[in-house]
């Protein structure tokens, strides 16, 4: 199964730079998710790898072979589209065998491939139907079968689930991952949905404004994000601005707003450094019993979210924090004074971004 490598790939459309100096290596059999907000360049990268777009600069290698200038019909790839793009005038069956047909495979091979791929996505019974008669999820399954019938080792999925309902997305993403892994394919899955990326990928590549911000395995990126954007984009985080007041051994004390102080792990921090303290909602606990590290606050609102309860708490620094608690735990009410406990293991400290915190965290 092919490896994919991008070296210093840049894509410009007139004045607009869609992707800038992208270096990426995808290993044989790896399921990589390229994740980022709209306009970050992720679809551009997918189109460059597939040959739909030619990069302005840089080189693209598939399986060690340089493919710049080679049209997409000559690269061995399977592509799944965001808009699904099933050919409306062809039946499910004819859509699925489109690739072997246009490649000139004989009838027997076409039939075998059609049966195999439609069976894999559980759409064999609907072979005679036309795309307009199918639901969104069913259509995309056929789209997947059509891509798999190319027999290519490299599968490119361009926001394959974005057009579908939330529930359908959840079911289909597991189908996707299972199929890819069972067939041993290399997959590039482009998405703006961080939950989707985390659940399907071996490795996540986060892009923003045309550049790669950070990459790594989902669990590592979630629990140990190196960049502040990652901390905000992958899952949710609370952010508190402050200045390092003093360092003692491996600890540091950070002065937050309104003369509130908090103790954190101090690796690499210097006195006087402007920092941002970040912690995820599920790593905060509400209690009536004080224990460091903590901040005092008041519950502004309570929301039920099914498996957890979300509290909006305004703490004495003036920041509005989100605290998630397991639904069964002790309940707190709007207006109540509480203590917000920080799980020290999961507190991260970042240098204050040069462009300002808001700008660094912007999701659009």
């Amino acid at each position: 199964m092919p490896t994919v490598e991008l070296k210093k790939v840049t894509m410009k459309f007139g004045d607009v730079t869609a992707a800038e100096d992208v270096n990426l290596l995808i290993k044989d059999g790896e399921y990589v998710a390229i994740l980022g907000p709209s306009g970050c360049g992720k679809t551009t990268i997918a189109k460059i790898v597939s040959g739909i777009l030619e990069p302005t600069e840089g080189d693209v290698y598939i399986d060690g072979r340089r493919v710049n200038g080679i049209p997409s019909e000559e690269r061995r790839i399977g592509y799944v589209f965001q808009n699904i793009l099933l050919f409306p005038h062809l039946s499910v069956w004819d859509n699925s065998i489109y690739s072997p047909r246009v490649k000139g495979l004989d009838d027997k091979e076409q039939k075998a491939l059609g049966n195999e791929t439609l069976q894999m996505v559980e759409m064999l019974k609907e072979s005679a139907k036309f795309p307009s008669e199918l639901s969104g999820g069913a259509q995309q399954k056929v789209g997947l079968a059509r891509a798999l019938a190319t027999r290519a080792g490299l599968l490119i999925l361009d926001e394959p689930l974005s057009a579908l309902d939330a529930r359908v997305r959840v079911d289909l993403r597991y189908t996707l991952r299972n199929l890819v892994k069972n067939l041993g394919l290399t997959a590039i899955h482009v998405t703006h949905d961080q939950e989707e990326a985390m659940s399907v990928a071996d490795r996540i590549v986060i892009m923003r404004k045309g550049k790669i911000v950070e990459q790594g395995p989902p669990a590592q990126m979630y629990h140990d994000p190196q960049q502040i954007f990652t901390a905000n984009f992958l899952g949710e985080s609370n952010f508190l601005e402050g200045v390092v007041d003093r360092t003692i051994d491996s600890w540091a004390v950070v002065e937050l707003r309104n003369e509130q102080f908090i103790r954190v792990k101090g690796n690499g921090l210097r006195r006087g450094q402007a920092v941002v303290v970040s912690i995820r909602p599920e790593h905060l606990t509400l209690t009536k019993v004080a224990a460091a590290p903590m901040l005092i606050g008041k519950v502004q609102d309570v929301h039920f979210a099914g498996a957890y309860v979300r509290y909006d708490v305004t703490v004495r620094t003036g920041d509005a924090l989100i605290v998630d608690a397991i639904a069964d735990d002790a309940r707190f009410n709007t207006g109540e004074d509480v203590i917000v406990l920080f799980d020290l293991k999961h507190v991260r400290v970042y240098p204050r971004p040069y462009a300002g915190l808001q700008e660094a965290l912007k999701l659009e």
Partner: protein, 566 residues
């Protein structure tokens, strides 16, 4: 000062309240529909009823006269044969051009667009003159000459229709096909082409209608070709026949005013012959176009067979280049150069003193006035009708109206003129020839406005109008503030197309009354053996072309100005 402002607002409010009353709107729409049916549709089809009432006369004067029948069948054959062949060739050469226009990115697209539209600016009588002069000596057969003429009259319509539909088809489908291994040609053939049906059908119908309808250009070309032997019978197509017989069935003040091709006598019995030919043309055109529409819906494109290596080879290298070269070659040598060849005659010079400026300017002003009034009427009544069709509550009625509105356009304008003229003559309306000609012009330009506005309204996301209403806007406010600004480019385009068509029209004018000397009629006159004056003809053609060209250019600029979607 505040008081007067309030008074103004008060006036507006009451006017708005009145307009929004359901029965007022209902009355307005009814008026528009009635006007259309009584003043446009009925006169257009009137001649069909004469087939029944005047059957006896027709029997006597035409059906029992083998010479005359021979002329008629010959003419019909010419008309339809030429129309069908030209349309097929237009598809063959127009399709690659449309593809080139839509799919390729290159500098000078605006120029290419302008060139393709250019022949539309020339009054068709002028096209006839130009084409005939260009091919003098090379082409002797009237059939072939008419084909060459119609390349110039129909090509822009074909390319525009194809390009419009191609634009709508998401190129992503083809891109998708290519990621699955299809070569460019295979992807285009198996994916885009089948999605293309409606575009091909529209283009074919527009071309057929135009070719069948053309009168001025045909007459000018045939006259120039046949010279003194024009009208001898076997060299005429349907519309030319109508033109000739119309001329020969009038009463003239003195015998030497009788046109040379009538053989020295006028034959008033030709009136029923005219009825017959017009009715025949109308019926056959409607049948042909219904057949085309059906074919387009049912035609199965050859999808199953694929020849990967062969088609891949055709997608690269010299073949696409040859194809594009052929497309451009056709555009330049069969369409552009023949269309503007007449310009050469301007530079021969020396003809200026011989120009009768009085009738010259009369002709030009008459053409422009008729076109202006017709377009104005079209807008006033066409927009409400379009709103009724696109947004009306009774969908079936709207669809029916939509079909009916197209009839005056599809029907050959010369036949339409005969029908309309006869209708009003039968009603006892006399002496207002210019008005009748204007009504005929309204009839065949009406569809331009209605079709454009309907298309634009149907393309409009209903979400805008829905949201506006929920925000408190009454239907008239919704149209004025939201829908109309968004369809304005289409309205303007329709108006300009209607205007330029009317300016260049010969058939509908000549067949209603040859006393109304519009510029195209003068152009045809100037080609006639004995009164040949190609310089004046050229001058008329040049002036009208420049005026129409500016109008068309303005339309292109306006429709490209701002994308309509957020």
């Amino acid at each position: 000062m505040n008081e007067s402002k309030d008074k103004g607002a008060g006036w507006r409010k009451s006017l708005l309240a009145i307009f929004s009353k359901r029965y007022v709107r209902g009355a307005g729409y009814s008026f528009v529909v009635l006007f259309f049916i009584l003043m446009v549709l009925l006169p257009t089809l009137f001649v069909l009823s004469l087939l029944v009432t005047g059957w006896g006369d027709i029997q006597a004067t035409v059906l029992s006269n083998p010479t005359k029948m021979g002329i008629v069948w010959n003419a019909i054959g010419y008309s339809f044969g030429v129309a069908i062949l030209v349309t097929l060739l237009d598809i063959a050469f127009g399709l690659p051009m449309a593809w080139f226009l839509v799919r390729r990115q290159f500098k000078g697209k605006a120029l290419l667009n302008t060139l393709i539209d250019a022949p539309l600016a020339v009054p068709t009588a002028g096209l006839g003159v130009s084409v005939a002069l260009f091919w003098t000596g090379v082409i002797g057969s009237p059939f072939l000459l008419l084909m060459l003429l119609h390349f110039t009259t129909t090509y822009p319509y074909m390319v525009r229709s194809l390009a419009a539909i191609l634009n709508e088809i998401d190129i992503e489908y083809e891109t998708a096909g290519r990621t699955f291994g299809a070569s460019k040609l295979t992807a285009a053939r198996t994916i885009t082409l089948p999605l293309f049906r409606s575009g091909l059908a529209t283009g074919a119908i527009l071309c057929l209608a135009k070719a069948l309808s053309e009168t001025g250009g045909v007459m000018a070309a045939l006259i120039l070709l046949a010279g003194s032997s024009f009208g001898a019978g076997s060299g005429l197509n349907g519309t030319a026949l109508i033109g000739v017989w119309k001329d020969c069935s009038k009463t003239y003040a003195s015998p030497d005013q009788i046109p040379f091709y009538c053989g020295g006598v006028t034959d008033l019995t030709l009136k029923s012959a005219l009825t017959f030919v017009s009715a025949l043309l109308i019926i056959l055109s409607l049948i042909l176009l219904a057949v085309v529409k059906l074919l387009a819906l049912k035609f199965k494109f050859p999808l199953k067979k694929v020849w990967p290596t062969f088609e891949a080879r055709l997608s690269k290298g010299t073949v696409p280049k040859l194809r594009d070269a052929a497309a451009f070659g056709f555009l330049i040598f069969m369409v552009l150069i023949p269309s503007f060849f007449i310009a050469g005659y301007m530079f021969i010079g020396g003809g200026i003193p011989g120009v009768d400026w009085g009738s010259f300017w009369n002709g030009v002003l008459l053409s422009l006035s008729i076109a202006g009034v017709a377009t104005a009427i079209d807008l006033l009544l066409g927009i409400p009708l379009a709103v009724l069709i696109a947004r009306g509550r009774f969908r079936r009625f709207g669809t029916l109206l939509d079909v009916l509105v197209n009839i005056p356009y599809i029907v050959p304008s010369a036949a339409l003129g005969i029908s309309l003229g006869t209708f009003y003559a039968t009603m006892g309306v006399k002496g207002v020839d210019v008005l009748l000609v204007t009504m005929a012009h309204v009839a065949f330009t009406f569809p331009f406005i209605v079709r454009n506005v309907v298309g634009a309204l149907e393309g409009l996301d209903p979400g805008y109008e829905d949201t506006a209403r929920t925000l408190g806007a009454k239907p008239f406010q919704v149209f004025k503030r939201i829908s109309y600004p968004m369809i304005k480019p289409a309205v303007l385009a329709g108006a300009i197309m209607a205007f330029t068509r009317s300016v260049g029209e010969t058939g509908a004018t000549i067949s209603v009354s040859s006393n109304v000397l519009t510029a195209p009629i003068m152009i045809v006159d100037k080609t006639k053996y004995g009164s040949r004056d190609l310089f004046t003809a050229g001058l008329l053609i040049a002036l009208l072309t420049i005026i129409c060209f500016i109008a068309i250019f303005a339309m292109r600029v306006l429709t490209n100005r701002r994308p309509r979607r957020a």
